[in-house]
Symmetry: C2
Subunit: 193 residues, 2 copies
């Protein structure tokens, strides 16, 4: 942001905890608007997360099917997880989540970008990683209460599902944009061991 944004920026006057649950931690802040007025902003504080686009050697991608209670549907998603281990960096989190949820490790990783799923009421960001050189260790270790299927699809199938409405998860749609442009060569990645 620059001084050119001053006519848009809101400044915190006060912050009040609304609620601390097992998952949700919500606040209501009072802010000064750019025009000098006052408003309240309610939002959820989130530690951030990672999502992984796992590229198999045969050109397919690794995906998950998981029931998501708030939307009441089984959703097709790329593997993802929260940055909830203190001190763990994002790449380490991506490696851990890929292994825990799918049983796979990867020989090479590339950082793609970042996304903000819900900028109107959550601080959440999701860091996007690509993984290749995948090896199936055959051993998942899901969190308690976590049930999900792992499966593979071609990028063409995934994009078709995005078009048909079979994929509606925003992080997975955002990753599909990355995948399409990486595979076409339009967007380059910096791969590292």
């Amino acid at each position: 942001m620059s001084h050119l944004d001053e006519h848009l920026i809101e400044h915190r006057q006060d912050s009040q905890e609304l609620f601390k649950g097992k998952l949700l931690h919500a606040f209501r802040d009072t802010v000064t608007l750019p025009d000098g007025g006052t408003a309240t902003r309610e939002y959820v504080v989130h530690p951030g997360a990672v999502v992984i686009v796992p590229l198999l050697d045969d050109g397919r991608v690794l995906l998950e099917r998981q029931f998501r209670y708030p939307v009441g549907r089984v959703m097709i998603e790329f593997p993802a997880g929260k940055l909830d281990v203190p001190g763990e960096d994002k790449l380490a989190c991506a490696k851990r989540e890929l292994l825990e949820e799918t049983g796979y490790t990867a020989k090479e990783w590339a950082h793609a970008g970042e996304l903000h799923p819900v900028i109107s009421y959550s601080t959440e960001f999701i860091d996007i990683w690509f993984a290749r050189g995948l090896v199936d260790g055959g051993r998942r270790s899901l969190d308690e209460g976590e049930h999900l299927d792992v499966f593979t699809a071609t990028p063409e199938e995934l994009l078709q599902w995005c078009r048909e409405g079979k994929v509606t998860d925003a992080k997975t749609l955002s990753c599909a944009l990355w995948l399409q442009n990486v595979l076409s060569g339009a967007w380059a990645l910096d791969w590292r061991p």
Copy 2:
């Protein structure tokens, strides 16, 4: 969902209101897991929203810059808004939000798809609409406390910003996937007056 998903589906036992604020309305449900165990699910109830990809006659798209308090940044976004008028259908909401936020009306509309921004803790869905035949009425009517800039960019600029991390809003990234495939001819839209 089909009976093939029974090993994934969670069933509600009980629902408890956690908090009702001015914006956030949160619940904690107790659910039966597929393995017969019990877990709690905390989530925000949201009325749903629409997002609009406005195509100008010169090939540019209409975008907004808006400060989003929870993420503390000025974000580049497609116009969007909540389904918060009782009885209003999604297309009517898209027309209203485009007019209110940008001052533009559109001669033709096409429904693209749907996205779920945050399937782990919100019921929110966002319906994606394309608009063309845009006419600038020159008159915006922003909600109280709403401050935003309207500007235009080429689709190439927008995609470049997605790649560079200047666009990180998930609904806008998801719309960029739609835009890229609609413009290439890969994904067809059904335009209506």
